[in-house]
Amino acid sequence: MAYNFKEAMNKPERLTGGHRMCAGCGAPLAARGVLRALKEEDQAVIANATGCLEVSTFTYPYTAWKDSFIHSAFENAAATISGTEAAYKVLKRKGKIKENYKFITFGGDGGTYDIGFQSLSGAMERGHDMVYVCYDNGAYMNTGIQRSSATPKYAETATSPIGTEVLGKQQFRKDLSQVMVAHEIPYVAQTTFIGNFKDLHEKAEKALYTEGPAFMNVLAPCPRGWRYETADLMEICKLAVETCYWPMFEVVNGEWKLSYRPKKKLPIDAFLKPQGRFRHLFNPGNEDMLQEIQADIDKKWNQLLKRCGEEIE
Amino acid sequence: MGKLTEIRWHARGGQGAKTASLLLADAAFNTGNYVQGFPEYGPERMGAPITAYNRISSEKITIHSNIYEPDFVVVMDESLIDSINVTLGLKDEGAIIVNTERPWKEVREQFKDYGGSVFTINAREISESTLGKYFPNTPLLAAVVKVSKIMEVEEFIQTMEDSFKHKFASKPEVIMGNMNALKRSMEEVRGYED
């Protein structure tokens, strides 16, 4: 269905205020954005991996979720919702449930890329009719900003600190979206918050209303961990996309499709510079580190263009 | 406890000793007994020596241990005799039954230190000529029942026929073959030089 922005904004909120996420956090935008793609008449069950979003949105006795919600642990959100989805199938078959339900899981990069990866991979392989949404903020923020496999190279975190010998994280980030594509599930998308949220909305809608498992990787900036001013959220997302640090694409039944191509790809400095976690990269003598990051971005961007059948730069 | 008979099976993984012990338990169960049939507790690997057990009694069995002093031992694979003390703990008033093509006398000689009876059965020959393939279980079951007298032969034959009819409902030739194997084994199990 074509995206009607104003109508989408007019829908009742399915995530209330009064949750305890940090001011300016990106994660609730991902949650709100995905939930807006639900048809109003459809019910949903939301599972959430332990993490910022979970502990902040359901602190007893206050739940910010208008839909049924379940949290069990950090590493098992996908397995948990797969149980709920299976229960739905059998109870529906037995005529005990009339309504239509959608099953959505939210997890941070810790609960998705790392500790929850096995249960995610298993649930996708089993083919449950569910959407797994990773809000990727590139570190374990809930425990105080420790490196994850989604943390970009050279970023400073509490466990990849800036020292005299070692500067930040020493590894490039895991390309989870590509790993999820390798599961050959019907739908995989990578997106973030841009403009009027058309990209996120349309992808969420496809993910929700494609039968079978779907995975969405949503870049969700964390002002505290990335160290930028809270008000700059949307600007940071834009730079992530314009520098091709976070390309937006979707893979429908194995077909790769680029969602957005910058008119002129910005140098990676533009994304890194506003963020305190990369400040050391701009000290004299560290130019080669920046070049290394740029080379990696360029390589991966070209690989993506090729996969999507786009003209290579 | 009523009359309790304990049986130990020796074979190699994959030869069907576990199945044989379960089939014997089945037959004894079907003729009104209390039964236990269990493999040596552990993983079963093709070719590795394995042991299976049966307890058969007219009264409820509560013991849950392995069997160390069996009344009867069945050796499904005679190549095990060289490497395993198959008569270990076997009661002198009991018997050992060996699946072999060799003459009874030769086998008896092999167990000269064992004071009980030795029986032989050529399960291969019987199986191949009645079933066209080597399935030693039916001949061995018949031999054990004949030797151990744990159930009436008539009852045993009847229950086996019922079970073959149930299992191979669409294959009358298999039922016939198995019944022939059973009857021949009863006659051909050898315990004396005759």
Binding site: G83, A86, V90 | D26, Q36, K60, H64, S65
Partner: protein, 393 residues
């Protein structure tokens, strides 16, 4: 009409599952419980049950899927052993704390390491504080009967807790024995329809499960959860009474065998209780006053009842098929000794660690234990409290 049959312990559990016809079964194979989900898979393949199978990639996910399913109002089951239960550890606590009456068939097996696949109670004893009701089974019949009763116990409104039904790996799980089955219809009628207290799939009343619980509330939730366990005792007896009406088979919190006039007794769990009964029968014929208390319900632990049943004895050996590494004995010993604290005349009490990793226990071993108890009685001296049975010294 009872159905006379012969089944292994695993088959018995699988048949119970088939008769109960749960909504969901989530499982991952592990020896020696593997056969249970295999049998159920066959029932599904043959259309004999309506169950939705979730064949997960780990036991952690198995219990997680059980949580998601039971929370959605579906009657949910699983089966596991040993390291599988250990991998569930975190989620066992979650299941009980959010009051989900999941039913788990546990086939007891030693915990690694070194790796060992045989009977041992290290797995369930390790999970004894997880808030699950624990019911133990001497043989296939008890495994079957207990499993059917477990559904009713856990789902009782006063209880609302998950239940694990335990039996010994291989010794009973893989041994074919006589059993009396209940007619399908009777099982269905006995367990009844599952009516969840709350469900994720109730559109009229969406719920949120699994909150972050601050110190202002956490302890109240735990106290309330503990009350479910407290109430479980009478519910277990009530369900047993109804079960007896259907089957004629009587169950309590424990079984006392030749205990009334006994001087020496052992307290034991699962299959070795049967071996001990055979030893007792033999020794009784020799005029020796020996008896047995077989634990059926370990969680909740029937302290008072056990104290009453044991306090008249002169000497008791508590048999633990798992090490607790407390250096003063195993977990069952700790419980029984604690229960007997209330007794006016406390019997002499020793602990045997036995049968670890499937080490076979015969009637001879059991007789040896009784002989040790009589020696204590004669000398009026307990001697060493914490002992091993059948270990090479």
């Amino acid at each position: 009409m009872a159905i006379r049959d012969r089944l292994s312990g695993n088959e018995a559990i699988a048949i119970a599952m088939k008769q109960i016809n749960p909504d969901v079964l989530a499982a991952f194979p592990i020896t020696p419980s593997t056969e249970i989900p295999q049998y159920v898979s066959q029932y599904v393949a043959d259309g004999e049950v309506d169950t939705e199978l979730i064949l997960v990639e780990s036991e952690h996910s198995a219990m997680s899927a059980c949580i998601g399913s039971q929370a959605a109002g579906a009657r949910t089951m699983t089966a596991t052993s040993s390291c599988g239960l250990a991998l569930m550890w975190e989620t066992l606590y979650i299941a009980s704390s959010i009051r989900l009456p999941i039913t788990l068939a546990l086939v007891n097996r030693a915990l690694t390491g070194p790796i060992n696949i045989n009977a041992d109670h290290a797995d369930s004893m390790g999970a004894r504080d997880a808030g699950w009701i624990q019911i133990y089974s001497e043989n296939n019949q008890e495994a079957y009967d207990n499993f059917i009763q477990a559904v009713r116990i856990g789902e009782d409104k006063e209880v609302q807790l998950p239940t694990m039904v335990c039996q010994d790996g291989f010794i009973t799980s893989h041994a074919v024995e006589n059993i009396e089955l209940i007619e399908d219809e009777e099982v269905k009628a006995f367990v009844g329809e599952y009516i969840p207290v709350a469900s994720l799939l109730n559109a009229k009343e969406p719920i949120a499960i699994g909150p972050y619980d601050s110190p202002h509330y956490y302890i109240e939730h735990k106290r309330q959860q503990a009350e479910g366990m407290n109430k479980a005792k009478e519910v277990i007896l009530k369900v047993a009474e109804e079960f007896e009406k259907v089957t004629g088979r009587k169950y309590g919190l424990f079984e006392a065998y030749q205990l009334e006039d006994a001087e020496a007794a052992i307290v034991i769990i699962n299959s070795t209780a049967g071996t001990a009964k055979a030893a007792i029968d033999k020794m009784r014929k020799e005029g020796k006053k020996v008896g047995l208390l077989k634990i059926r319900v370990f969680r909740p632990f029937p302290h008072e009842e056990i104290c009453d049943a044991l306090s008249h004895l002169k000497a008791i050996a508590v048999m633990d098929r798992s090490e607790g590494f407390s250096s003063i004995g195993g977990p069952l010993f700790a419980e029984v000794r604690s229960a007997l604290y209330e007794a006016e005349n406390r019997p002499m009490l020793i602990n045997y660690i036995y049968g670890l990793g499937g080490r076979d226990v015969t009637t001879t071993h059991i007789e040896e234990v009784y002989n040790q108890l009589f020696s204590m009685i004669n000398k009026n001296q307990t001697g060493q409290v914490y002992r091993y049975l059948g270990v090479r010294e």
